[in-house]
Point group: none
Chain length 404, copies 2
């Protein structure tokens, strides 16, 4: 694989594409700032998507469209054109459109030298700008590809989006299965994410009769059941290999200071890189929730109504991995080495989770530069080795598209 | 005391007042429905107070006013007029204005025959309507009183109000200390509340470092600590003599589905009729809160910050009692007997807690009729023996005001 990457780096058209990326570093940074300043809360990515589609058309991608889910598609075919009757699955290079920030958050961007500040400036305005930069460089340099490349900007990657965009993209009707999937997510140059951190998110509600906190005291109290559930889950044995976690992330319930609530709830975030460990945790958590209700019911006033528990699935992200030995992972590792940076194999929850669960080789890569305060209003991006990250994406994409 | 009540029942003006109450039973019921349909969340009783003041004026009370706290005052003096230079403390007949229902709750009233349905229809629209009915009957029948009577509609009786209205009413500057205090609260005819159910209400906040639910998993989680605290409190031994309770009435915390919260909280309602039992419970609860924080801290990732717990006092209602042998309690018991109903001596947390703690003889009485689902949106009132409850209040008030 090191040989393949070396050959690509010496390939005339790839050298031209690399040069294009380096020359347009400032253009890319300006696009990143412009994209970041268009609000794109999960579920309301339309304006940013329209801007992306316009960029895709301007730089010369083919068949640019926005699908029913809201994802933006643009194609680069063999010899720079997508051709009818092509065989072989495409390579998908993707970046998510949405941010964790609600419509009420001001997403204006401030620039100070090479530093940009604004909510979402790295996650994922950087990924989107890099997606455009790779496409533009390949079009401009007329990089010949044996497999077509689908450049895709996806909706609903964050939190409650539950990977909605990529699920639509890959679960929809396709002529052929993609040969590889590469997600550009945020900044950075070291990590190669080949393990999909799976998660299940639950909204758990306990319901009971409620009543006056003195007169009715002794009835089953949903707030107690939430407490018992949280305490049981907090005492689950920690599990490190594979690392598997269950966090109580939100809880609520109750109305007045002298009322036993009729309803109380907690939200849970279960995660693991390993699908079997996640499934096992799921069983354990559900048993704990039932036990919490049972424990509370057992102490209730004789003859009073029992608590009921309702478990609602809020999110379901599959786990899995693309094996370290797979050519896609090896291409990324080799690209890192060729660019003088050791690769760090890592896990995360990204758009790559979905293709991995579908058996499509997939990884996620940072798009260069440095960043901090992800998911906070103080998020920042610094364009240090920004172009290198885009060049890495170019090399991995070209390797998978069988350039040369 | 039985003789006094018998004499009152035979007194010409009292008979006229009783007849007035019976004749206006339907008017009272309509007033109850109208009052209940005016939203009066604790802290926002203004509209209902204005309506009460208008009623007080219409029926002919003197010196009707609304004080700085928002309580409505109306006076009936000797011979039906309040007179300058009167000596001797007044009798206070009071009913609270506020409901446990927030501004978002629809408080529309539905009537089905003798049954009224609506949040707050009994607690305390019934008490308020009865307060007006007693006053109107005494004015109309020109009942001669040796002591003036202050008819008072109070704010802030429920939950977070912490008896704010009656505290202002009795702790403010007064010429003379009231001779007796009678609260009309909700429905019913049997109970005579002479024991003040004391309570302490706490807002307990746990704070920790927070962080990403996967990356930072293992840090001390305030939501876990809330759960541990609720579970420990739910398992406290039940205590019946004196009955002593601790209810988790509200809880909350957390922001997003992939964040360990930096803060989570729970609200507690501790109660007992016995001041010493309440103080002992207080110690037990504080120890449980510390233990919840310790248990969570003990499991945290080595070297990560510890949780801190902060306990804020939201409410403090004194316990105590008006002795069973006191003429006020005896008058209520005798009135019950004269009306053919055995009295049940009971405890509750009402406006009467405050005068009891100040050494002023005080009781609380239901205002007749039957009711259910107090503090729930499905609250209902049935006007069965409704007039009898108002007549009982008339008799006790008249006895204390030394009619005859």
């Amino acid at each position: 694989m090191n040989d393949l990457i070396s050959r690509l780096l010496a390939h005339e058209r790839i050298r031209a594409a690399r040069h294009h990326i380096e020359r347009t570093d400032e253009v890319t940074l300006a696009r990143q700032a412009a994209l970041s300043a268009i609000p794109a809360p999960t579920g309301a990515e339309g304006r940013r998507a329209a801007h992306l589609a316009e960029l895709f058309r301007t730089i010369g991608l083919s068949d640019v469209s926005i699908d029913h889910a809201g994802n933006v598609h643009g194609w680069l075919g063999k010899n720079g054109r997508r051709e009818a009757g092509e065989v072989g699955g495409p390579v998908v290079l993707a970046a998510h459109l949405d941010t964790v920030f609600g419509a009420e958050v001001d997403v204006a961007v401030e620039r100070r030298g090479q530093r940009l500040e604004g909510p979402g400036i790295s996650d994922n305005a950087r990924g989107l700008a890099a997606l455009v930069a790779v496409a533009e460089a390949m079009v401009a340099a007329r990089v010949p590809v044996a497999r077509p490349i689908l450049f895709a900007a996806t909706v609903g990657e964050e939190g409650s989006g539950d990977l909605r965009g990529v699920k639509h993209l890959l679960n929809g009707k396709h002529d052929v299965t993609p040969a590889a999937f590469i997600a550009l997510d945020g900044a950075g140059l070291d990590r190669v994410i080949h393990r999909a951190l799976g998660s299940k998110r639950y909204h758990v509600t306990f319901r009971g009769p409620g009543g006056h906190s003195w007169a009715a005291f002794g009835v089953a109290n949903p707030a107690n059941a939430v407490g018992r559930a949280a305490a049981l889950l907090a005492d689950l044995p920690t599990q490190q290999a594979p690392r598997t976690t269950c966090a109580v992330v939100r809880l609520g319930g109750g109305t007045g200071l002298n009322s036993i609530p009729q309803e109380a709830w907690l939200d849970l975030d279960l995660r693991s890189e390993d699908p079997r460990a996640l499934a096992q945790l799921d069983v354990t958590v559900r048993a704990a929730l039932e036990r919490a209700a049972d424990d509370e019911n057992r102490r209730r006033t004789a003859g009073s109504p029992t608590l009921r528990v309702e478990v609602q699935l809020l999110g379901d992200r599959p786990s899995g991995m693309t094996p370290r030995a797979h050519p896609l992972v090896q291409a990324a590792v080799a690209a890192n080495r060729a660019l003088g940076r050791d690769a760090e194999l890592a896990s995360a929850s990204t758009d790559a989770n979905v293709p991995i669960a579908l058996g499509i080789p997939a990884i996620a890569l940072g798009a260069g530069g440095k960043a901090g305060d992800a998911h906070l209003a103080t998020e920042w991006y610094e364009n240090v080795e920004g172009a290198l990250g885009i060049i890495r994406a170019l090399l991995v994409t070209a390797a998978m598209a069988e350039v040369g």
